[in-house]
Each structure stands twice: as C-alpha cells, then as structure tokens.
C-alpha cells in the first residue's frame, strides 16, 4: 500500500510544485524548466527501454531530431497543426527506431550502444546535407507555434504543455513496465535464450521496446520545433544523447529514494537537476562540458555509495526496512 501512496503522491506533489513554478520565476527560468521537462521525457523513455528490455540507446538526439524535422516540414510545407505534427513526429521516430533495431538485433551491450550513437550522428549529418528537405545548416525557420482556441501558446503555456506530456510519458512508462508486456521484456532481458524456449519472440520484444522509446523522443522533438519555431542540425549532437543517457543513469541511481520498485520518478528528478546544473555551468563556456564530464566520472566512481545512500533515504522516507529489489 505504501508503495502506491508514494507512487501517486509524489507525482502529484511535483505537479503542484511545477504549476507554481512558472508564476514565481522569470520567463528565462520558465524556459529552462521547459527544457528540463523535455529532457525528462527523452530520459524517461530511454530509461524504460533500458530497464525493461536492456536496450541502451545513445542516439536519442537522432530520434529527437527526426521528430523535430518532421514537425518542421509538416508545419512549414503543409501547414499542419500541433496535435498532428506531434503524432507524426512520434510515429516517424518510432519507425526509424524499428529500422535501426531490426538489423542490429544480434548486437548487445556496448556494440549496440555504438550503433545507436552512430545512428544519431547519421541523422544529424543527413539533416545537415539534405538541403532540399531540411535546408541544411540554414535550418527551417518560421514554424508555427501551437495554437489553441485561436491563440498561440505563451512561454508559460509551453511549459505546461511540456509538463503535461512529461507526466503522460511518466505514467506511460510506469504502466508499460508493470504490464504483461513489460514482464515478458524483463524476462527477455535477463535471459533471451530461456525466453525464446518459453515462447517469447525475442526480436519482436527488442524492436518494440526500442520503438516505444523512440516514439516519445519523436513527440518531444515535434514539441521542440513548435517551441523554438526553428530547427537546425546543431543542437541534435552526440552531446545531447550523452546528456540524456547520463540523466537516465543518475535517475536509476536516485530511484530507490522514491519507490520500492524500479520507477521513472528518479529520472524525472534527475532531468530537472542536471538540466539546471548544465544551465548553471553556462558561464564556464567551453569548459562547461569538462565539468560535466567530471560530474559523470564521479557518478560512476561513487555509484555504489550513491546507490546505498538512495536506498537508505528511501527506507527512511517510507519508514520500512527495504529488502533488496533487483531491476
């Protein structure tokens, strides 16, 4: 019972807190919060594919870009509006995810990660060079904003939209991991040979888990296009993919604080923390990434300590002794 209380109370708390946020801070800070929400969506969907299927993607930026360019092209060339661009952005990214996952089924661990990283770069280079469609380094400008009731969204309203999508993504990920499908995926992740002799179609499970993560990356990419009304290949680089992966890593470490089971709340929180950290380090200019790298290194080195601390904090909050819960 305790678990469910935590599972519902915490997101609600966050929701209320986040609604208050845009009224108490500057427009600049609201923008950063919006970016934090978008990073949270990218990272939560990645966390889901990692935790249920063991599919680690280092190419989230690529799928993000596909969503953004899809929305940009549909909006500027066909004059398509917001809900449709989000939908098509998501679907096209998911399709790209399937096309990437299908031929790389035999790759595991580091090799799969390298493939996805390369894919992310390929997407960026295609966007840079396919000038007919993407206008290359010039980028696509003049994308219409999201219009609701005949009025374009304000900065605050964009934040709420991103928050709403993030909360939807959170519940989607939670639900999928607890579903029967999630159970089959976890079984496949633990031992794919045993899973296959029990009747599980391992290729389909792996591909679908990858596609689900890409779906959300595409949706949030479309949101990005509308928010900035401009897309260019520059922001969709490997750094962004790495940032998302680090958010997801930190999230899985923080997770035991909030929930007894593996959940995505830790990822949500770590997206906010790391987005603000990156923003706060902006004054360092080119040294920013070096500090970020140092942070990552410390995280990896002190991973066991962080994990233990998170566990004990979690049992302190829930007032219960925690048994070791894997996955």
């Amino acid at each position: 019972m305790r678990r469910w209380k935590l599972g519902i109370a915490l997101p609600l708390l966050l929701l209320i807190g986040s609604v208050v946020v845009p009224f108490s801070v500057s427009l600049y800070a609201t923008r950063v919060w919006t970016v934090a929400m978008m990073n949270a969506i990218l990272a939560m969907s990645l966390s889901m594919s990692i935790s249920i299927a063991g599919v680690v993607s280092m190419g989230q930026a690529g799928f993000y870009a596909i969503g953004a360019y899809t929305a940009a092209v549909l909006s500027t060339r066909l004059g398509m509006g917001a809900p449709w661009t989000l939908l098509f952005g998501g679907l096209l990214a998911a399709l790209a995810g399937i096309l990437l996952a299908a031929p790389s089924l035999r790759l595991r661990g580091m090799y799969f990660m390298l493939t996805t990283m390369a894919f992310g770069e390929v997407v960026r280079l295609v966007a840079l060079n396919w000038t007919g469609l993407t206008r290359g380094p010039m980028g696509i400008a003049g994308i219409q904003g999201i219009v609701i009731f005949g009025r374009p969204l304000s900065v605050r309203e964009y934040y709420w939209t991103a928050l709403l999508v993030a909360v939807m993504c959170y519940y989607f990920c939670e639900f999928i991991s607890r579903s029967d499908y999630g159970l089959a995926c976890k079984a496949m992740r633990d031992d794919d040979l045993a899973a296959s002799v029990l009747g599980m179609n391992v290729p389909i499970l792996r591909i679908s888990a990858a596609a689900l993560a890409c779906l959300w990356a595409g949706i949030v990419g479309a949101l990005y296009a509308h928010l900035y009304s401009f897309v260019s290949p520059t922001p969709f680089n490997a750094w962004l993919s790495l940032t998302i992966l680090v958010i997801s890593m930190l999230g899985s470490l923080l997770d035991p604080v909030f929930s007894r089971r593996a959940s995505y709340f830790g990822t949500f929180i770590s997206a906010i923390v790391l987005t603000w950290l990156l923003e706060g380090l902006r004054f360092l200019q080119e040294y920013r990434m070096a500090f970020y790298g140092l942070f990552m290194l410390l995280l990896v080195v002190f991973q066991p300590q962080v994990r233990a601390l998170a566990r004990s904090l979690g049992s302190y909050f829930s007032g219960k002794e925690r048994t070791s819960v894997a996955a």
């Binding site: 029967d180 089959a184 079984a187 633990d190 031992d191 894997a326």
Partner: protein, 261 residues
C-alpha cells in the same frame, strides 16, 4: 488424449566443424510416458535437446512433434506448439521473482497479441500461477528474486516455469543434477505427478541412475553421438555395450539397479 507417438526424431545429425555431436540419431517418445536419455559425458545428450528445442539446427534428419514436422521452426514456435524445456544449469530470469518467472511463462501462452498485453497487468492477480507455485511447493519462495534462491529451488523453479507454459512434452536436462538423495526423491514424486495428474510426457537426461531406474519406462543410451541401445532400465543396465561405453571393456561386471554411474 495425446497421440501415440508425441515426438519422433529420425536420423538427426549435427556437426560442429569436424566433430560429429549427433550421428544419425533416432528417437521415439510415446505419449504419457517418462523416457530417459543416458550416456557418458560428451555423448551428445544436451546437443540433442538443443536440436529438439530449436536452438540448434541439425544438418540432416527430421523432428516431428505430434505428427507435424517441426525441424525448421524457431524455438519460440516450438514452445507454442507444446514443447517446454529446462537447462542443465538453471537459466532463470534472475532479477525477477519466482512468481514473475512462472507468470511470464504462463502469460506467453495466454495471448500472443503484443499490443493488448501492453495494457494488461496480471502480476497482482491470483490464478494459474498460484496453482503452479502450489503444485511445486514453491510458496515460501514466491516473492524471492531468483538470483538469491538456493540451487535446488532454482532447479525446481525452472521445472515449474516450463510447466507453466502448459506443454505436452517436457524436456528436462539433468533435473536432479547436484541434489541430495532426499531432494531427488522429491523430484521423482513430482515427475510422477506431472505424468499422471497433468498428463504431460517427459523426456529427461539424467546421470542419477536411481531416478532413471525408478521413473523411466524406456531408456535411450547415446554414446559418441550414436544410438547405442534402447529398452527398459533393467535391460539397459545388463546390456554389454552400455557397460562398455561407461566403464570400458571388462567381463563379469554388473551394475546393480541402485548404483549411481
């Protein structure tokens, strides 16, 4: 009612490079029986199981299950057709609990529609999974993550997980490997109950002769990838060739039924 012959293996050959792991092996398993496969180490028993469950493709020969040729089917389709197996070293889904292991296997049999399963959450429901847990006496362990189970319980859980997929034919690769005499007796009782109450045909590989002698109706002997002999346990243990394969050539030796090889 199960067909007369559940599994028929005809002339299966499997090579690994120059090594002939299985050489023209044939096998016939009648429905509702417990059959054993014995043989010295490296005689191709596990390779045969891998061919039967679809993990390996044989170079020659065919495998028929319930009258249908399944030689070319991938593992998951054979499982759906009704073949379940365990491994010599238990291969459980280690981060999941015993209950989740069993549930994952059972749910696979329930519905093949992936998208509908994304919206279903059966992990809290009582039902078939609990029946299986009870049948195998795994109640005390059901919420334990499999990585931290004692070895004997892991073996048992693996059999339970295979049975949860509601198979017609159960392939057991050394089910009592590493167990003590008491545990072996427990497994023997279970096998008999699986056969009699659940009407599942069992084909097992085992080195433990007391189990083979007491439970198997027919024993097949493999040696260096060849069918060496076939018959009732009593006949097999007095077969000159079998004794020779295990112990080398010597006149006047006899294996008593309870002796372990």
């Amino acid at each position: 009612m199960l067909p007369d012959v559940v599994l028929e293996v005809k002339g299966v050959t499997k090579r690994f490079g120059g090594l002939i792991a299985l050489d023209n092996v044939s096998l016939r398993v009648r429905g509702g029986t417990i059959q054993g496969i014995i043989g010295p180490n490296g005689s191709g028993k596990t390779t045969l199981f891998n061919v039967l469950s679809g993990i390996l493709q044989p170079e020659a020969g065919r495998v028929a299950f319930k009258g249908q040729d399944i030689t070319k089917l991938p593992p998951y389709q054979r499982s759906r057709a009704g073949i379940a197996r365990t491994f010599q070293q238990a291969r459980l889904f280690t981060s999941l609990t015993v209950r989740e292991n069993i549930l994952a296997s059972y749910l696979e049999r329930q519905s093949l529609n992936l998208s509908s399963r994304m919206w279903k959450c059966s992990s809290g429901q009582k039902g078939y999974a609990d029946e299986v847990i009870e049948f195998f006496g795994l109640q005390p362990f059901q919420e334990t993550a499999c990585a931290s189970l004692p070895y004997g319980v892991q073996k048992l859980t693996e059999i339970a997980r295979a049975m949860a997929s509601k198979p017609d034919l159960l392939l057991l690769d050394e089910p009592v490997n590493g167990m003590n005499a008491e545990e072996v007796k427990g497994v023997c009782d279970l096998l008999r109950r699986i056969k009699e109450e659940l009407k599942v045909t069992i084909l097992l590989i085992e080195h433990n002769m007391s189990l083979v002698m007491s439970e198997c109706e027919v024993v097949n002997v493999l040696s260096s990838g060849l069918n060496l002999a076939k018959g009732s346990p009593q006949v097999i243990t007095t077969n000159e060739q079998v004794i020779e394969a295990y112990l080398g050539k010597r006149v006047g030796i006899s294996l008593s039924p309870s002796a372990e090889s």
